[in-house]
């Protein structure tokens, strides 16, 4: 399965994603510069974390007009898997590939820490190896992770089982006290209607090896591989 990791000016988790895909998961991967216009030959594209264009104007607002984003949009349209992590999630929202927006954390602070998210659905290629209700310990590192969408959009996300991850306690309780950033309904990750575009604020690539304190993030990458292999059969 061939992966691409998009590099925008200001991406800073691109090398981590590349490393996990190549060395931990053992898959072929290449960097995709934001000026590139095709994603030919790739099966999954990762939009990594970072501060593309310095987060100027709004997070992801400028990056979403990078030439590569048109290719990402076509790729998603054709059913290609798109994983947006942190700034990648913000860019996908700005680009309209995912609904809603990520606003500044209500505490106005950058938060970098391990926390827990509960898997709400396994009906996505990104969580197919998880159990519903499974709690993953994965770090966040963001200043703008406060997910917001209007009521109608939230209702649609729920109705269509598209809320993928919610901030929770270690035992899986979803409550306001486990919400780090003010995110609507404790949302930490959502997918699109086609279920092939997934955005999440936590960093699975930072939790894919025991030496880093958690391997839970690896489940996301393993799910992608598993879903892809099944689809090929």
């Amino acid at each position: 399965m061939k992966f691409g990791v998009v590099v925008f000016p200001g991406s800073n988790c691109d090398a981590d994603c590349y490393y996990v895909i190549k060395d931990v998961m053992g898959q072929p991967v290449r960097y995709v510069w934001h000026q590139e216009r095709t994603l030919n030959g790739l099966d999954c594209v990762v939009l990594p974390g970072g501060f593309s264009y310095g987060d100027y104007l709004r997070t992801g607002a400028i990056a979403r007009f990078s030439p590569v984003m048109e290719a990402v949009s076509d790729f998603a349209e054709r059913g290609g898997l798109v994983l947006g992590i942190c700034n990648g999630f913000q860019i996908l929202c700005e680009a309209g590939l995912l609904p809603g927006v990520l606003m500044q954390n209500t505490g106005l602070k950058f938060i970098c820490k391990f926390l827990h998210v509960r898997v709400e659905t396994t009906n996505t290629p990104f969580t197919s190896m998880c159990r519903v209700g499974q709690v993953l310990r994965i770090p966040i590192a963001h200043h703008g992770g406060n997910y917001f969408a209007d009521e109608a959009t939230l209702a649609e996300l729920k109705r269509e089982d598209r809320v993928v991850l919610r901030y929770s306690s270690p035992s899986g309780d979803v409550a306001p006290e486990y919400n780090p950033n003010g995110s609507l309904d404790n949302i930490a990750g959502i997918c699109n209607k086609g279920r092939n575009v997934f955005g999440l604020m936590p960093h699975p690539e930072r939790a894919s090896e025991r030496i880093l304190g958690s391997e839970d993030g690896r489940l996301i990458f393993a799910s992608i591989l598993n879903s892809f292999a099944k689809q090929k059969l």
């Binding site: 104007l57 709004r58 607002a61 007009f65 929202c93 700005e94 809603g100 927006v101 606003m103 500044q104 954390n105 209500t106 505490g107 106005l108 917001f148 969408a149 209007d150 003010g182």
Partner: protein, 81 residues
């Protein structure tokens, strides 16, 4: 030269955490007659008067890039300077 003065503000229903902090700070300075503080962005665009419909053009800029309609409203005025 015409200049567009663009204001981008959070929609009234959206929690404005920065506005709240500013309000708290002002109140702690003794300004106690505040009802509400909202913070927005001011963007100034100096334009070329080349016969195009500047109102239309600035509106497009706001809708495409300057404001995110999910959470923000915008308004602008074009002045001569």
């Amino acid at each position: 030269m015409p200049k567009a003065k663009v204001l981008v503000t959070l929609k009234p229903t959206i929690l404005d955490a920065q506005g709240q902090v500013i309000q708290n700070a002002l109140e702690s300075l003794g300004f106690t007659n505040l009802k509400r503080v909202r913070m927005g962005k001011y963007i100034e665009l100096t334009l070329e008067a080349d016969g195009r419909d500047l109102n239309q053009e600035v509106r497009e800029m706001c809708e495409k890039l300057l404001a995110n309609p999910v959470m923000e409203d915008y308004s602008f005025e074009i002045v001569e300077c």
